[in-house]
């Protein structure tokens, strides 16, 4: 998510060219530097969020949030978000209000909902839905821990 393409990176006034991946859009590119990041990867997490908070050289701010899942090669992205903000306040609010549970996709490291399967019984659907809900709650819980730690790290930097 914080991929700094070596061919394009240049140090200028202490900043670098940052490239943040986004779903359904070209990567967000800007000159700036990473202020704080939180990676929720741990042994017991099948899905986790990575959050990166950046200061742009033009006085603006950027946020990158990615939901990762474990994969044979280490990790694979499930959802990628990246935004730019004019003010620090809107960027902080975006961290606080991000819908972490909404990043969970049924069937990707989470229970699948067999909605099109005529043979699926209501009990099966109910159990799968309950399992999916538990995964969503856990992902949201871990996201909140990371968000709180990231914002505290920003505060410690005097931002």
């Amino acid at each position: 998510m914080n991929a700094i393409d070596p061919a394009l990176a240049r140090a200028a006034e202490g900043g670098l060219l940052i490239r943040l991946r986004r779903d359904g859009a070209p990567p967000l590119r800007f000159a700036g530097r990473k202020l704080a990041a939180q990676d929720g990867a741990c042994a017991q997490a099948g899905l986790w969020h990575e959050i990166g908070f950046y200061a742009g050289r033009g006085g603006d701010w950027a946020l990158g949030i990615t939901l990762w899942r474990a994969s044979p090669r280490g990790r694979a992205a499930v959802r990628c978000h990246a935004w730019r903000f004019d003010t620090l306040e809107t960027a902080v609010v975006a961290v606080e209000t991000h819908d972490a549970a909404g990043d969970v996709c049924p069937g990707i490291a989470a229970p699948e909902l067999p909605l099109d399967d005529a043979a699926a019984t209501p009990l099966t659907l109910a159990l799968r839905a309950a399992g999916l809900e538990r995964v969503r709650r856990d992902v949201a819980r871990r996201y909140r821990i990371g968000a709180g730690a990231l914002l505290a790290a920003l505060a410690w930097q005097g931002k």
């Binding site: 538990r134 821990i145 709180g148």
Partner: protein, 150 residues
């Protein structure tokens, strides 16, 4: 503690009119929110770390220069279980603060969704809840219902 008022990311607690000696700026991490910054000093710290048990909680109570009380909570397990859960809140009323701590459910705060280790998980959760009640009992000097005699 920091030498000056913290930056705009924090939510700054109501301040006293004048700076008091002994009170410094403290940034308290919160769950899913910007941290709380208080001009305060520690009143007490309590934790229930048990040898041989990974899960433990810590309560720190602060008083602020404006005469409020602040509490920071931390629940932590092993590193594999992820970073510690932290939260903090302010109160002007010690009784409300006590009620909030008594109402807090630490197992709900830390409960993971993966129950492939259900038996161990459920026992660990019970023990974690019991030592939390023990911590509250030690802090508030009361016998909490459901706690076995020590």
């Amino acid at each position: 503690m920091r030498p000056g008022p913290p930056g705009p990311v924090c939510e700054i607690a109501p301040r006293a009119r004048t700076a008091l000696p002994g009170f410094g700026w403290i940034v308290l991490q919160r769950d899913g929110r910007r941290p709380l910054a208080i001009e305060g000093r520690v009143v007490l710290t309590a934790d229930n770390a048990c040898a041989g048990f990974a899960w433990r909680s810590e309560i720190v109570i602060y008083e602020t220069a404006a005469g409020l009380l602040a509490v920071s909570l931390c629940h932590a397990g092993t590193a594999e279980q992820g970073p510690p859960w932290r939260d903090a809140f302010l109160s002007d009323d010690p009784a409300a603060l006590r009620a909030a701590l008594l109402a807090h459910d630490p197992v709900a705060a830390i409960a993971p969704c993966r129950d492939d280790d259900l038996a161990g998980g459920a026992r660990a959760a019970q023990r974690f809840a019991a030592i939390w009640r023990g911590l509250l009992g030690a802090l508030f000097g009361l016998r909490v219902p459901g706690m076995a005699a020590a």
